[in-house]
């Protein structure tokens, strides 16, 4: 090890990620803003960015989960349809659209998100409707087009 390597390690040390997250951020932000990329803690920065990526994906799954739950209830308990279900469906569709507008690169992962969300939505639907799990399809019966666009209107005169 040359003295130069030692110096660089000393600079890198700063405050340690595991021991002091807040202090670590202050140090890394200062290094990044100064353009001192040779001294940053790249592996923990990577870890934090990966974490943000997962939350971004999970936000999409979360919105789909609520949406699918309500589509299932809509189709399997039509007698209970309500204005509040329509509002929930509209709201979640909007969230999904905004999410994809901010992150178009999530689009290749839509099928994965849909399948994951359906697994959750299915269990939610079973719990909330009290119907048997076997009543619902095992795999998501809705195409992406249905999920995001199928019209959902409350009839003025039900029955």
């Amino acid at each position: 090890m040359s003295p130069k390597t030692l110096d660089r390690n000393a600079v890198k040390a700063g405050r340690v990620y595991e021991a002091d997250l807040y202090g670590w951020v202050e140090d890394q932000v200062a290094l990044l803003k100064a353009g001192e990329v040779g001294s940053i803690d790249a592996s923990h920065i990577t870890q934090e960015l990966e974490h943000l990526g997962r939350s971004e994906f999970n936000k999409l799954v979360g919105a789909l989960r609520v949406l699918l739950l309500h589509l299932l209830k809509w189709d399997y308990q039509p007698e209970r349809r309500s204005r509040s279900w329509v509002m929930t469906i509209d709201t979640q569709r909007e969230r999904i659209a905004y999410e994809l507008e901010d992150s178009p690169s999530l689009k290749p992962r839509l099928q994965e998100a849909l399948q994951k969300a359906y697994a959750y939505g299915l269990r939610d639907a079973q719990r909330e409707t009290g119907l048997l799990l076997s009543v619902f399809p095992d795999i998501c019966p809705y195409e992406w087009q249905d999920v995001t666009q199928r019209p959902v209107h409350l009839d003025d005169n039900p029955s």
């Binding site: 405050r15 021991a19 002091d20 997250l21 807040y22 202090g23 951020v25 202050e26 890394q28 932000v29 990044l32 803003k33 353009g35 990329v37 040779g38 940053i40 790249a42 592996s43 920065i45 990577t46 934090e48 960015l49 990966e50 943000l52 990526g53 971004e56 994906f57 901010d102 992150s103 178009p104 690169s105 999530l106």
Partner: protein, 166 residues
């Protein structure tokens, strides 16, 4: 100039932070993992990493707000003390201890957190207990040590028979 142009040309092939957040994350993670640090988007990574610290601070401030809210109610409305208020204070003290342990440098921000948490907590108490603004001191009457450690004992007057020896 020539090197600058070359650099900006290669940057152009990456997805932009504002236009495609998830794609930007993927690209930056790829660059970091490849050790291609000269091409990373330092300013926006700094912004994103900064949000990690802001969340830690918010966690501290929110726990302090809930804790001060209960302390104020405890002192202003002694007849409404309850075992659940004690539990809530214990839980928020644990949360504060946990955040500070994970972020020792955050201790420097406690005066700021205390001031803000107190101001929000006074509004919460005014609203929930229908108390006038005038009874609250302009500055937090508790110092940080008091907030974190003052002993809170709730002496219950009703002791349900049979439950005492649990």
């Amino acid at each position: 100039m020539k090197t600058n142009t070359a650099a900006s040309n290669s940057i152009k092939s990456f997805r932009a932070y504002k236009a495609d957040y998830f794609g930007w994350l993927e690209d930056q993670i790829g660059l970091l993992k490849a050790g291609d640090l000269s091409n990373i988007d330092t300013q926006n990574i700094a912004e994103e990493i900064g949000s990690v610290a802001r969340r830690q601070y918010d966690c501290l401030e929110n726990a302090a707000r809930a804790l001060i809210y209960n302390l104020l109610k405890w002192d202003l409305m002694p007849d409404r003390r309850s075992a659940s208020a004690v539990l809530s204070m214990d839980a928020h003290r644990d949360q504060i201890a946990h955040v500070i342990a994970r972020n020792p440098s955050l201790a420097a921000e406690t005066p700021k957190a205390l001031g803000r948490a107190y101001r929000y907590a006074t509004y919460d108490v005014m609203r929930d207990c229908d108390l006038p603004r005038s009874i609250f001191a302009p500055e937090c009457p508790y110092d940080w040590e008091v907030v974190r450690t003052r002993e809170i004992v709730f002496e219950t007057t009703k002791s349900p028979s049979g439950a005492a020896n649990l």
